[in-house]
């Protein structure tokens, strides 16, 4: 008997991605001259890969008729972000999710300083508030964003809602009013069964996200995206973190080639490693 569950998906917006170019000049991630942040202007952005997997899982569950509706959520500025682009990144991210099969979107408007300091704590507060407002039964997120690699939002959201969590999911099965989650852990795989409502975070092997094709993107334009302000949700976005400094990793020293094992041992001794 298919269950009627509402779903919420969290998307990480504005994730800078180094485009994997095979051309002669691969783009580099650079630190701003004042060492306050990474340069994001002009850098190609797209939906966080783990979030794509989360969206795919939600859409799959809907296609199996196990859930009623998929709602895609993203937080970010309303207006266009970059001087050389005239589209809104957050909207584009939500539209991609809608093109993949989500039913409707929610754009949580966060801009300026609030957006610069937006982190897992703030996002999880927003997600928790929305989950309650939308009466969601399942919140699916990517396990971490590839720009900050925090791996905290899902866990914090579950804690704020006092819901069980199935993180690093490589398999999700709905069984009645429970969710069976196979988790990827250091020692291998762990299978748990948790009650709904619950939070699940997607790991790489959960599924293979579909590509948002042009016809689906066109169809997705008819789907609704609601605009919501954090204040409407009663969420305080004040950050408790202050970024002191951002530095590039040290330049990798060129390696040395040695001819024999004796040479290797010699060099290791010289540099004080043995």
């Amino acid at each position: 008997m298919p269950q009627k569950l509402g779903y919420l998906d969290c998307l990480s917006s504005g994730t800078p991605v180094v485009t994997l170019s095979c051309g002669p000049l691969p783009p580099q991630i650079r630190v701003k001259p004042d060492n306050t942040a990474v340069v994001t202007d002009g850098v190609k952005h797209s939906m966080n890969p783990f979030c794509e997997i989360a969206v795919e899982e939600a859409v799959k569950l809907k296609e199996k008729k196990l859930i009623k509706e998929v709602v895609a959520v993203s937080c970010g500025p309303q207006q266009a972000q970059f001087f050389d682009s005239d589209f809104c990144l957050t909207q584009e991210t939500i539209r991609t999710a809608l093109a993949m099969g989500a039913d409707r979107g929610i754009h949580v408007e966060v801009s300026g300083k609030d957006y610069e300091t937006l982190g897992p704590l703030q996002v999880s507060k927003i997600m928790a508030a929305l989950a309650k407002k939308e009466d969601a039964q399942l919140v699916i997120l990517g396990k971490q964003a590839i720009d900050d690699d925090c791996n905290q939002t899902g866990q914090m959201t579950a804690a704020l809602l006092d819901w069980p969590q199935g993180t690093f999911a490589s398999e999700v099965t709905l069984e009645g009013d429970k969710v069976k989650v196979v988790r990827e852990i250091d020692g291998g795989l762990e299978t748990i069964k948790i009650n709904t409502p619950a939070v699940v975070t997607a790991d790489l092997r959960l599924n293979t996200p579909r590509y948002a094709t042009l016809p689906n993107i066109m169809k997705a334009k008819k789907k609704k995206i609601a605009n919501v302000k954090p204040a409407d949700l009663g969420v305080d976005l004040t950050s408790r973190l202050e970024v002191l400094r951002v530095d590039e990793p040290p330049q990798r020293q060129a390696g040395m080639k040695v001819e024999t094992v004796e040479d290797l041992v010699c060099k290791l001794k010289e540099t004080g490693r043995v």
Partner: protein, 94 residues
């Protein structure tokens, strides 16, 4: 390269399909490894090469070939992204 066609005959019902195929490929070409401009050049010349094809069977074959290229591009992009993720975040399999 892609061998499809641009049908100039306004009455041909396959014209819509051809244009849709071109648009889809153009959209996918934005993320092509050697650049969107490179892809667009080759896409256009491939279509122009076949612009005088009128036989509907031949046209359908060429469109099917174009659909195959779409699947190849989607696979390329998927592999590229997920290989990068796997390399970055997971231990190499022993």
């Amino acid at each position: 390269g892609v061998r499809v066609h641009l049908v100039c005959d306004m009455a041909n019902p396959l014209r819509g399909e051809v244009i849709k195929l071109y648009k889809t490929l153009l959209y996918l070409g934005r993320e092509y490894p050697q650049g969107a401009a490179y892809f667009r050049e080759r896409l256009k010349s491939a279509f122009m090469k076949n612009k005088d094809v009128t036989d509907p069977e031949k046209i359908k074959q060429l469109v099917a070939r174009g659909d195959f290229v779409i699947k190849e591009l989607e696979a390329l992009y998927f592999l590229r992204k997920y290989r990068a993720m796997k390399k970055r975040y997971y231990e190499p399999e022993k």
